[in-house]
Amino acid sequence: MNSRLLANLGRLWLGLILVFLYAPILVMAFMSFNASQYYQLPFEFSMRWYEKLASNGEIIDAATRSVLIAIVTTILATTLGTAASVALFRFEFRGKRFLQVMLFPPIAIPWLITGTAMLIFFFGVGLGRGTPSVIIGHVALALPYVIVVVSARLATFDATLEEAARSMGAGGWTITRRVTLPWIAPGIIAGALFAFAVSFDQFVVSYFLSEPGDSTLPVLIYTSIRKGFTPEINAISTIIIVISMAVMLFAARFSNFGGER
Amino acid sequence: MAEVSVQNVTKKFGTLKALDDVSMDFPDGGFFGLLGPSGSGKTTLLRAIAGFIFVDGGTIRIGEQSVEHVPVEKRDIGMMFQNYALFPNMTVADNIGFGLRVRKVGAAEERRRIGEALELVQLAEHGQRKPHQLSGGQRQRVALARAIVTNPRVLLLDEPLSALDKALRVDMQIELKRIQREIGITTIFVTHDQEEALTLSDKIGILKDGRMTQAGPPRDVYNAPNDIFSATFLGDANILSGSGATDDLRRNEEADIRMPQGFDGKSTLVVRPENMSISLTKPDQEGLSKLKATVVQRVFAGAMATCILQSGGNTIKVIARDQEFPDLSEGAQVWVSWPQDKTIAIPAN
């Protein structure tokens, strides 16, 4: 077959995939501005679902809670993860390989299993459901992502820079603060954004760990969907999508995942 | 085996003329070097001959066949890549057998020819290894074996030895030449290493900014460059400026330069550093060109030494065996001289 034809077919294919990926999201966003409650066409522009959303205390509460949980998760996961990354990068010690392998279970085991296991354990130790349990779970899920992202940045760090700093008489803490940290800062920022996204978008673990009436936004959305469609969910979903995509676009600027730059 | 002929070939990438009216003949069985700085179009020319890119104008012939519209996989060529491009997922034998498998020569024939090719490059014991288990030189041999095992009409080499260290490179140059002679295949290679081009080629083509500035046997090009670029790119050259328009340089107390035959008064004069010699006093021998100069620096490099001098506005470099230089100190006034027939006159364009 002609190469140019083949290349164009390939581009067409890529275009179709992008349509497939974005069409439902765009439809949802579009419908959130439609006046009809039952998604009836023809389209009639209206902000009423956003107005209703603004006065829906339950959703606002859940959204606030989700954001707070995500912020706390981000701070904790980024701090602990960065510390661990530095240790894993700088030192050679027995069991290092094992510690690196230990990062995979939170990513590789289906969240259904992790989430139900957390539920059982937190009940067993008397903590039960609620926001503290959700935060503990989210931090554990976000940690491996932070460590992977920060480690990737550290791997590009030129160790002779530290040696150069030492040759100029800088001590350990000065080197860390003036040389190492500025270098890995983009990695830390990217890791933090990933942690935020993991927590803010997390549904499964939150679902098992949050208390009814005290749930995060995705959990509230899930229960609302199962009760029946309401266009307010469209509106809040559209807002969520916009926020999380913006966060990821921002994260992409700090970590060149996948692309050469 | 076949001759290759490139006539008036042009190739544009956007507005950039990568090849601009390039012509060169590559007779059957010869070893040809394409030489030039990066961006000169030498690799583009090689890839055009290979068929990776189609030219915008001109003709390319391999044997009797015009191949401008024949894609690479149909051109029946062998090619060796700069980084060897060995398939990491295959053994050495499978790498070599790849082209044979494509041509469906049959299992027995395939085995026989892989064996022969391994023999030829002296890797008979390494057929079952993976490329990452080989040294740089061995990989290079595998790449060569892979390129010639299908008996292609022409062998194309893209910077074939640039990934090897100096000592190994010299060995491989000799090896490459031996194998090429043994199978008698028309071979075209690209290099930016002028020494390599001089060592290996029966004929070289020098490219600059997409144009072929000169083509011919290395000795001819070296001894009679037809422009300043060829003169300076291939080997070292002292350019004596001021020699064209005025007579200043020709005869006064500080200079006595014998013009070569064919000097038209506007040419630029070029002298190779190794043809010059240095003396403390003005040589009185007739027929020598002489120039008074000041020693700037003397660089010792084992058997050979280089002396940098200043004369008028010109920086002059003289290369000779170290013991042939007189005792020189920086700032010393000396005379540089060379035989009349070693002055190359390059016509002004």
Partner: protein
């Protein structure tokens, strides 16, 4: 590897690593152990309830055909979603890695994996809007096509598959893209110079070299889909009963936690088996 470390260094390592790993232990590894223990109990050991050690929960899995039928159904669903994603995603990754160059590639790549980082629940919900009867898909098709079609995919297996493919497709595109991008273009040129056509190059060069990445993507899809419950619930309705939804029920509806724990462990065993089988090839993907 050096094993002799200064005492000071050992303290530093401990100080830097222990918070993170302590956290993982408390939030992941202890809970998994607790769940293993629970799966051998007759009832939850809270309050005044009677409980004893038993293997009944595992026996239930092996003796009640429903559970194994549902596990099999979940495995089939995961296989279908994985295969479809691979067939759709690999060519897409190839086009991105080998056909498109420069800044356009970077932008398109970002565009492809961006949805993946947005809320999966919300994306599943958006499909519910598209696929429902009298929804956008049906209205749109009827506006274009000359004849009436009745597309109510909602609450069907195809709806679940579409939603899951949409959720997990970026995984296989991402891993395949990384593997394909690592293939030196000179290898393809070399194969062409030896006379190989496009199919030969695909079969003998590109597929073998990108297989680890492709497989990594497949595993990353297969594993979570086997345990999916939210997607079948929303898009499948009554047909959306899978192994994952049964486990969910044990924890949020039926409150038979020990049985749920046992079923979770059966699922975990399946997942670990899959990871173990694919790990020799996956290890290659990282080198």
């Amino acid at each position: 590897m050096s094993t002799v470390l200064a005492k000071q260094d050992r303290l530093k390592i401990f100080g830097l690593l222990s918070p993170a790993y302590l956290w993982l232990t408390v939030a992941i590894f202890l809970p998994l152990s607790a769940m293993l223990y629970f799966s051998f109990l007759s009832d939850v050991p809270f309050g005044q309830k009677e409980w004893f050690h038993t293997t009944e929960n595992y026996k239930a899995f092996f003796t009640t055909p429903t559970y194994s039928i549902l596990l099999w159904k979940s495995l089939r669903l995961a296989l279908m979603v994985t295969v479809i994603s691979v067939f759709i995603g690999f060519p897409c990754a190839y086009v991105l890695a080998k056909t498109i160059k420069g800044r356009a590639r970077e932008a398109l790549f970002l565009l492809v994996i961006l949805p993946f980082w947005s809320n999966s629940l919300v994306r599943i919900f958006s499909w519910a809007i598209v696929l429902r009867g009298n929804g956008i898909l049906e209205v749109g098709l009827n506006a274009v096509l000359p004849f009436e079609v009745d597309v109510n995919l909602m609450f069907s297996t195809p709806a679940i598959v579409i939603g899951l493919v949409h959720s997990y497709l970026p995984y296989v595109i991402l891993t395949s893209y990384l593997a394909l991008q690592a293939i030196d273009d000179n290898l393809i040129d070399a194969a062409r110079s030896m006379g190989a056509g496009k199919l030969t190059i695909l079969w003998r060069i590109i597929l073998p070299l990108s297989l680890p990445g492709l497989l990594a993507g497949a595993v990353l899809i297969f594993v979570p889909v086997v345990g999916s419950f939210m997607e079948p619930r929303i898009l499948g309705g009554r047909v959306g009963t899978y192994f994952g939804t049964v486990i969910e029920d044990q924890f949020v509806a039926v409150y038979n936690w020990p049985l749920g724990a046992a079923l979770s462990f059966v699922l975990l065993a399946v997942v670990l088996l899959i990871l173990a089988i694919s790990s020799p090839i996956l290890r290659k993907a990282r080198t």
